[in-house]
Symmetry: C2
């Protein structure tokens, strides 16, 4: 079987609060068509691509919050994207705000196969931000208020034959900065990591020392190094641009198992990036430098699970 897969990142420009769901969905379908036209077999969309990044706003009622969530996936507001992907025979990673029948809220992503089958599901574990709004700030980061922490762990899964049975993993936004999540996937032999994000172009917690350039550098650095240290391909895709006055970085990238950026978005708008990924290029790292069985020493890693916060020496 072929172990080369053509990957696409479908970076999205800003979604304004006032944009209709159909307007946004049409842009996503246009990106899908563009990627498929370039021969992509798998298209990665950002985190929460169907709406604006709503956790920046404080809502008064739970009904206002729930209006941003999907109660089924696909559902009435998303079905057309799934139909087009299936018709094109193209798979996709797509994020969404998930409201379960039991009333739980998660920041979720799924990977859909070329035949429309849902291959894997992930719920964001590293939720940034705060539960309580920060008084006086124009924009909030309320993911800890609106979502529960992901409860599915970091579950790797296999792609179909046409994707070389790739071992795949998913992360969402802030997760990509946490080496623990990458490593749990690495310990499942991950060959292809899919990531969507919305990252503020400024310090979302109110500081003034981080600008868009630094934050884009951090985003790329985290993808490169964690891909390298786990010998995996990675596709990391932004929703970018100015959403109702709040800036989001772009910098969508496709990264090789050597940590090299092989495709990179140049704009802050809707933009498709494409690269061919040879999954067997993961073998050099997995069998040598990062041959975990030969070189890891878990008896010294216990604080990683025994501690949550940092405890300085006396």
């Amino acid at each position: 079987m072929s172990r080369i897969i053509r990957l696409a990142g479908a970076q999205m420009g800003a979604n304004q609060k006032a944009d209709s769901r159909r307007q946004i969905l049409d842009r996503m379908i246009a990106l899908l068509d563009d990627a498929a036209g370039q021969g992509a077999q798998l298209v990665v969309f950002p985190e929460l691509p169907f709406t604006t990044f709503f956790p920046r706003w404080l809502f008064e009622t739970q009904a206002e919050v729930d209006a941003w969530f999907e109660t089924s996936m696909p559902g009435p507001n998303t079905q057309a994207l799934f139909d087009r992907a299936k018709a094109l025979g193209v798979g996709m990673y797509v994020g969404f705000a998930e409201l379960t029948p039991q009333g739980q809220h998660f920041n979720t992503s799924i990977t859909v196969g070329p035949d429309g089958t849902i291959l894997g599901k992930y719920r964001k574990i590293h939720l940034p931000g705060t539960v309580e709004p920060r008084i006086g700030d124009r924009f909030q980061q309320l993911e800890k208020r609106y979502f529960e922490y992901g409860d599915l762990g970091f579950p790797a899964f296999r792609g179909p034959e046409s994707w070389g049975r790739a071992i795949m993993g998913m992360l969402i936004c802030n997760d990509r900065r946490w080496p623990e999540g990458w490593r749990v996937y690495g310990l499942q032999g991950v060959e292809l990591m899919l990531i969507g994000y919305n990252s503020a172009a400024y310090d979302p917690m109110g500081g003034t020392t981080e600008d868009a350039s630094l934050r884009t550098f951090h985003s790329t650095l985290a993808a490169q190094a964690n891909a390298y240290m786990n010998a995996t391909w990675a596709v990391s895709v932004a929703k970018a641009g100015n959403e109702d006055g709040s800036g989001l970085i772009g910098g969508s990238v496709i990264v090789s198992p050597n940590g090299i950026v092989v495709a990179e978005a140049k704009t802050l708008g809707d933009e498709v990036i494409v690269a061919d990924a040879d999954l067997d290029a993961c073998r050099q790292g997995k069998e040598k430098m990062f041959n975990f069985a030969a070189h890891r020493r878990p008896q010294w890693y216990r604080p990683i699970i025994d501690q949550v916060g940092a405890v300085p020496p006396a």
Copy 2:
């Protein structure tokens, strides 16, 4: 107290097998003088700086192996360096091959304070290479043969008042590619990570897909990203150049808690790099993005200690 410390990396060029110990020590003292002349308070030397990188050679007898080791530190072959450092009031990180009174062999580093006190000791945990020599290869990587795995964990320690009571950690060479070690230090609030290395300018395990440029990129990438993800300064220092026909990368760097390279060696020879590190620059990361207490979710990290090698999904 001041929380700004002037750091130096003392990159070393090649040490040939035939070089005398005194010849090499004199070069180290010259580097120390150079760094002190530039006002450095702490000078980082490479891994195994006192000799050639001897694990590339297969030795027939244990006596031949032991000849590369130090039975005390400082000892007769190293005392002059310690004396000069103390006279200058400069601290240092220095690696050495440690042979204990009990006959144990470790790849070790110590950090020495400005008054000559040994502040911390680390024994390399992530030993690369093989126990058995690879037949037919001109150069070996026999660290797993000549050294035992480090048995001290990743112990952070405090610098003196004149270093702002910095929380410090040490790694050695291959350790810098393993996020687990960095994170265990991160969980102790590390603000300054010291690293020495000897890294082949080719794939030391016999492959042909890695060259000096790629391997230097990997070295820098690992230092940058792990410094960023743990909000710490890092000084990562090479022994470089051509040792008896076997190439070593250079690329010594000083990296900020933002993952930015603030000083970088330009040669493959003896070269001092210097930068001022404001330890309080770690606070932005430690209190916000990488506020571990607020954002880590250890219940999902268990495979990191429960597994050694990778286990792919069915």
